[in-house]
């Protein structure tokens, strides 16, 4: 064992004004170019830029759906279609005979997009990827068919004129600035969300759904909000599009446009805002400057999509992420500092208990758990051991709400704990880790740990979107407690490293840090020592013991008998889903059946 005191400075986030500018410099350049583009007085370039802005208003919202939440919404062009026809038809007085003011019609287009964004998005809550992709595609086809058939409102194949917006955004450079401002607004809003606990929760749903649930992230609510926003942005983009085109027909909304939006985001890179923005601009402008390519543009987009998927699934953002290619220190040691625990965990005065009685769970004919009684008390480490397939992890999954048992009761301090609601466990301060670490590989270690504290934010989605003070306080507090949790488990030097660069043992401690973010009353650990070295196991044991001494009840599922007997206050031995023995470590160690069935002589 070498010197353990010196913190390893592997990577540090840039600090100070210069560091802040470094992240924003690309946006500043883009903004300045956009702001002064009219000085060129070139209408052709102006129209291309307007189109790029309009596409970006849609793509920025879609980016949250595709890039952050990982939902393959391929047919999002339908939102553009809906917004365009709503705005155009209302402004032209095709509905009810009243000509709406163009700005009101545009808002109505956004509202229409929001409504249908949710309707199209709803299946994502239950369906697998391909099914969802198919429903968005089917919807896009149907919207076009309706546009063709519903002649009174849409003008059918002949089309309908788009509105001209009056002062201050009249056609020409006025409209240009309208598009520019809305594109900037779209960027700002989505960047705020992306950097908030909501953005992190979306990425967690994408890459580590069960961990997101265990952290108390309710997928349905969050996704609906995102679909609402992305739909509204698509609708607004459609309204602008109808004005830019000055005349819209169903032919204007091809499936190829959907592909363009989609590829712009993927080229840019998932979970980034700048990358997709650049991707959208490039894809919009490219065919204009390479005239012979126009006919082949869709083919090239598709080919590009294939290349990205096969060669650089991370997109431009990954290629530009030079910071994470700096080598990490080779021989890193994890040195937990249990003395910091008192600053993370609440001091608990009253004792609480999770009690399982008569729990039974069958998978088909297999009795995974067969009438189990178990009690986890605060301040104690309860070991759960047994051979493979004896029902240890299944028990843990019942407690954390992933499985509904066929019989038996699960009570917290005498009150029933609801089954089938894993995301509700966080509210009871029941945290857990996983047998295989569940992480968001592309996010930093700090961000991964911050996910654990998602439910403790007080700012609403709208506050995060508009970057209001309460949101900033949330972020500050989350960041501080995540840093403390990392220091406690001994990973603070790796806080800004991408999580997928960590070693296996470090991921195990990262999961514990994430679980600690809940200030858990109960902590369920699923084989935390698997894959750790003997020295690491010893430190892990000390950390777990210290956690329990702060008043947290720990359930420890493990195979390492030494660790179990070292730190557990009580031990339950399972075999074939039934309790073989229960008692203090000393009693278990001398239990004849246990020794012969499991521990060996």
């Amino acid at each position: 064992m070498t010197d353990t005191a010196a913190p390893i400075s592997a990577t540090k986030a840039p600090t100070g004004l210069l560091g802040k500018l470094e992240g924003k410099i690309s946006w500043i350049i883009l903004g300045l170019v956009g702001l002064f583009l009219p000085l060129l007085d070139d209408n052709y370039i102006g129209v291309i830029a307007q189109r790029a802005y309009i596409y970006w208003v849609l793509s920025a919202g879609l980016n949250l759906v595709v890039g952050y939440a990982g939902q393959i919404a391929i047919g999002w062009v339908s939102m553009l279609t809906l917004g365009a026809y709503t705005t155009a038809a209302l402004a032209a007085g095709r509905v009810g005979g009243v000509e709406w003011h163009p700005y009101l019609a545009l808002i109505a287009g956004g509202a229409m997009g929001a409504v249908f964004g949710v309707i199209v998005g709803l299946p994502a809550l239950r369906l697998r990827t391909f099914y969802f992709a198919m429903t968005t595609l089917g919807f896009a086809t149907i919207v076009t068919q309706v546009a063709l058939a519903w002649k009174d409102v849409t003008g059918g194949g002949v089309g309908t004129p788009g509105p001209n917006f009056p002062w201050p955004f009249e056609p020409g450079w006025g409209f240009y600035y309208f598009c520019f401002i809305l594109a900037a607004l779209a960027t700002w809003i989505t960047a705020n969300i992306g950097a908030s606990r909501y953005g992190r929760a979306l990425v967690a749903i994408r890459d580590a759904e069960v961990a997101a649930e265990a952290s108390g992230i309710a997928k349905p609510k969050l996704l609906i909000l995102i679909f609402l926003l992305a739909g509204a942005m698509g609708g607004v983009a459609g309204g602008l599009f109808s004005s830019l085109q000055s005349y819209i027909t169903p032919d204007a909304f091809t499936f190829e446009m959907s592909v363009l939006f989609f590829i712009g985001i993927l080229i840019g890179g998932r979970g980034s805002i700048l990358g997709p923005a650049l991707g959208t601009i490039i894809l919009t402008a490219l065919p204009e400057f390479a005239a012979p390519l126009v006919q082949w543009s869709t083919f090239l987009y598709a080919a590009l999509l294939l290349v990205i998927v096969l060669v650089i699934p991370g997109g431009i953002a990954d290629l530009l992420d030079y910071k994470n290619r700096r080598p990490l220190e080779q021989h890193r040691e994890i040195v937990p500092r249990p003395e910091l625990l008192s600053r993370i965990l609440d001091s608990k005065s009253e004792l609480s208990t999770i009690a399982l009685s008569g729990i039974a769970l069958h998978f088909g004919g297999v009795r995974a758990i067969d009438g189990l009684d178990l009690e986890i008390r605060s301040g104690e480490v309860h070991g759960l051991i047994g051979p493979n397939g004896s029902g240890k992890t299944t028990t843990l999954n019942v407690i954390s709400g992933y499985y509904r048992p066929n019989a038996g009761q699960l009570k917290l301090n005498g009150a029933d704990l609801p089954f089938d609601k894993p995301y509700a466990r966080a509210g009871y301060r029941i945290a857990r880790t996983f047998q295989t670490p569940r992480l968001v590989g592309a996010a930093s270690v700090l961000e991964n740990v911050m996910i654990g504290g998602t439910i403790d934010g007080s700012g609403s989605f709208a506050e995060a979107m508009l970057s209001l003070p309460r949101h900033h306080r949330d972020e500050k507090r989350l960041k501080e407690s995540a840093a403390r949790a990392l220091a406690t488990v001994g990973l603070e030097s790796l806080a800004n490293v991408r999580a997928d660069r960590l070693q296996h043992s470090e991921l195990r401690f990262m999961e514990i840090a994430r679980a600690l973010m809940l200030r858990p009353a109960f902590l369920l650990l699923d084989e935390p020592a698997a894959g750790l070295s003997a020295e690491e196991i010893r430190r892990l044991g000390a950390l777990i013991k210290a956690i329990s001494r702060e008043g947290t009840g720990v359930l420890l599922v493990e195979h390492h008998a030494d660790l179990i007997f070292d730190i557990c206050d009580r031990v339950t031995v399972l075999n074939l889903g039934k309790m073989l023995a229960a008692g203090t470590p000393a009693e278990i160690r001398s239990h004849r059946e246990v020794v012969s069935a499991y521990l060996g002589a």
């Binding site: 391909f130 309706v146 759904e209 992933y402």
Partner: protein, 289 residues
Amino acid sequence: MLVSIVSYGLAVGAVYALIGITYNVMFSASRVFSFTAGMLGMLGGVLGALFINTMGMNAVLAFVLVMAAGAVLGLVTEILTVRPVLKSIEQHLYVLSTLAFALMIQQVTAIEYNTEPQPFPVLLPIDPNSWLGIVDQKFWLPVLACVVTIVGLELLYRKTLIGRAFLAIAEDSYAARALGLPETRLRMASYAIAGVIGALAGFTGAQMLLAFIGNQAILNFYGFVPVALGGMGSNRGAVIGGLALGLFQQAANFLVGGIFASVAVFAVFIIVLLLRPEGLAGAAAARRV
């Protein structure tokens, strides 16, 4: 009217069923839903019209060539878009890779062939006044193709050793590999078979649906509906679902107009899947943690 609803509905339904089977054959071999199913159907019609009408080929030779093209495209799909992403942690990359490939083929077709629907030749020289001509061949050809495909697949799966190997892969690919089955080669064979079935659907259905690149998206969606509702991997579900879909669509077409038929199909599709994500005949999924 009833006769035309039934004949047209069954014929279109048979094409949907065949595309559904195309999805299924690829899915069974790789757990991948491929967007190339609709593309194969589209190409079956387009290549047939190209070979017979434009190049003046004899119908039998054209049929053989179209089937061969389907098989080759199936193989390319497997090698180019499925195999590279199967090992990836990202579960859904295949959605994008197969979509990209299908779009590329569609675009080449649009540019090199035609973007408008083109007529497809009458394949069999049958006198419309003879007893064989009572029902137009454009209606019974797809149905016949569907019957032949089902019987063929059933014989393949139940009676031959290689067919049993397919089933083994579909059931549990790890175990099948552990038994020493050449998983990759069997997967390639499955994709080639799927290619032939998809092309067959397009070729036999094209007198009715015409040679048209727009068929790709339509077949992709309406071919998937029976698979999703009937339970993935189930050919029986695909056939029953496909025929029911075809009949329903045609009835709605005649009674309330095509646009409402589309909306109704879509609405039913979404509602059923929301209520039963595993399909009407499928089984619920397994553990996640």
